[in-house]
């Protein structure tokens, strides 16, 4: 029987394994040392591995991302933390113009194997500047990969896979998931990770409709699927796990079986990852299998509000997925 642990502890265990096994790996970020990171994810690591490998940085997001680029180009495997994903705005040149471009722009002379970990998403009452879901920004940039684990096991396995990847990877962790518990099997070696970037997982099989989601919305989709099952609707839930690249083969194959598609993410709908998933279905022969128009369940197109009710209504909840699934079955 696998043990149970939290999502944050699963990330922590992955970081510990990475630091133990690969001396090219180092961590850098704001308050990740003695403080343990804003969400406690790096707890205990500085004591175990020392300040040379677990580096507290000044509050300098541009320098954090840029130093990762420079270190990665010269043989290291930096895993850096941006304290809240919102703060990547201050690091966008290093990420978009540097990390994403250099392998291609320099004709393949360099690889940039770096990972940026960043907590994203809302629900914590931290309002507009600490709650965003910015994955679509990164997914739109050639050269970056974007990973968004939903489960405790994936938080561990996908981080290991991200560090094994020779490209810059943005690893977005949802703040509300940090304390969630789930079955967990720690890997003994980095290469033992079964997770593959660009490979979705079917969390629940079903024959009536396909729900494609990722990060916390994959968990809410799973809850919604159990609820609608009571109404005789069997939903197949696909956790995309990575939003760049997207595993469209798994979605198309599912849609061909179910004939209905619902896409859910916390980020607002306009020009979001959901639109890309839908396009990937309707551009393929899976279009012919659709029995109803596709639907998206996404965040409201506003900055994240503070007040509890406002915030809750700005973020898609399990009941919104339930409602959309039931309506989809009527059409």
């Amino acid at each position: 029987m696998p043990e149970h642990t939290t999502y944050a502890e699963a990330v922590n265990a992955a970081l510990r394994l990475l630091l133990s096994e690969d001396d090219r790996v180092f961590l850098a970020g704001e308050d990740i040392g003695v403080y343990g990171g804003a969400f406690g994810v790096t707890d205990g690591l500085v004591g175990e591995f020392g300040e040379d490998r677990v580096r507290d940085t000044p509050i300098s997001e541009d320098a954090i991302a840029g130093l990762a680029v420079g270190a990665a180009m010269t043989g290291m495997r930096p895993v850096v933390e941006i304290q809240f994903s919102d703060f990547v705005v201050n690091a966008m040149d290093a990420i978009v113009n540097q990390a994403a471009k250099l392998h291609f722009m320099y004709g393949g002379q360099v690889e940039v194997p770096m990972v940026i970990r960043a907590p994203g998403g809302g629900g914590t009452g931290a309002a507009a500047q600490h709650s965003q879901s910015l994955e679509a920004w990164f997914a739109h940039v050639p050269g970056l990969k974007v990973v968004m684990p939903a489960t405790v096991q994936d938080a561990h396995d996908l981080l290991l896979a991200s560090v094994l990847d020779p490209n810059p990877v943005i690893h977005l962790e949802h703040k509300l998931l940090y304390k969630t518990e789930g079955p967990f099997e720690p890997r003994a070696k980095i290469a033992d990770t079964p997770a593959r970037i660009g490979e979705a997982a079917i969390l629940r099989e079903g024959s009536d409709l396909t729900i494609a989601a990722y990060s916390i919305m994959a968990i809410r989709a799973l809850e919604a699927a159990e609820t609608v099952s009571d109404f005789g609707i069997e939903a197949e839930v696909i956790d995309m796990r990575t939003v760049k690249p997207l595993d469209m083969a798994t979605v198309r194959s599912s849609v061909k079986r179910t004939g209905r598609l619902l896409v859910a993410h916390e980020a607002p709908a306009p020009v979001g990852v959901g639109a890309e998933i839908v396009a990937g279905v309707v551009e393929s022969d899976a279009l012919d299998y659709l029995l109803a128009p596709v639907r998206r369940v996404c965040g409201v197109d506003v900055p994240m509000p503070y007040a509890r009710d406002l915030e809750r209504n700005a973020i898609p909840q399990t009941e919104n997925v339930v409602e959309a699934a039931r309506e989809l079955m009527k059409s």
Partner: protein, 306 residues
Amino acid sequence: MWTIRRFEEGVEELFSYDLLHGTMHLSIGQEAVAEGVCGALADGDMITSTHRGHGHALAHGADPELMFAELLMKDTGYCRGRGGSMHIADVKNGNLGANGIVAGSMTIASGAALTQVMRATGKIVACFFGDGAANEGSFHEAINLAAVWDLPVLFVCENNQYGMSMSQDRSTAGGSVAGRATAYGIPGVEVDGNDVREVHDATADLAERARNGAGPAILEAVTYRYRGHSQSDRDLYRTQEEIEEWRSSKDPLARYEGWLKESATLSDEAIESAREQAQDAIRLAVQGALTAPDANIGDLEGAAYA
């Protein structure tokens, strides 16, 4: 230095024949900064470069034929035709790359320097940046980080006194980039950037210091670009008299040759021979590059990822 100047004159000529795509930024007049800095580095030391980076690449050992090939959109170019003039890298020789973003390479240089510390290589990184970059946020973040971590990086401000058109006087509070070093508690040294010997000696001192674990420094080399910012520049922001004064009385090549003669280091014949060698090498490099195969369209899909 003649190789750099002849290379860039060659680039201008190729541009005039419409053989290049896009613009380029020439460093004619600034050769002593590239040569003085790179000439003082040790084997295995690295550089990061700027959009005006032909001189840095050549001074750090790049093959002019592969640079011309890049500009001429050839598959044999340093970046296989994907980078162009503004993005030449020569990683094998320790040039981590030119950068089209002003100050874009500064935090990268700090990161590369961190690798040298963590790997105990004894190597340093020289980070070229322009006077304009000193007003970017990355300048502050990169230097502050390097200073608090004592990273072996030498920040070389190649101060040609203008951004695209905005003069340093109008753009830079305090007036001195080297002077800003005080705020970071590191050495800041200003040198005559058109005196290759002065640039060389200051670099050697600061590089040695960084190599010994004493941390970063700012070297500000004051120089002047004879050409416009890029091909679209009409020089509306400076006078012809100003340009002519620098060309006629402060040229880095003329000054170094003058010193070589006065100090009897080289004969007139040897100097003339060095000029000819540079000219011949550039001619051959252009010929070689012109006959290389074009950049390969078929390689594009998926090439963004390693």
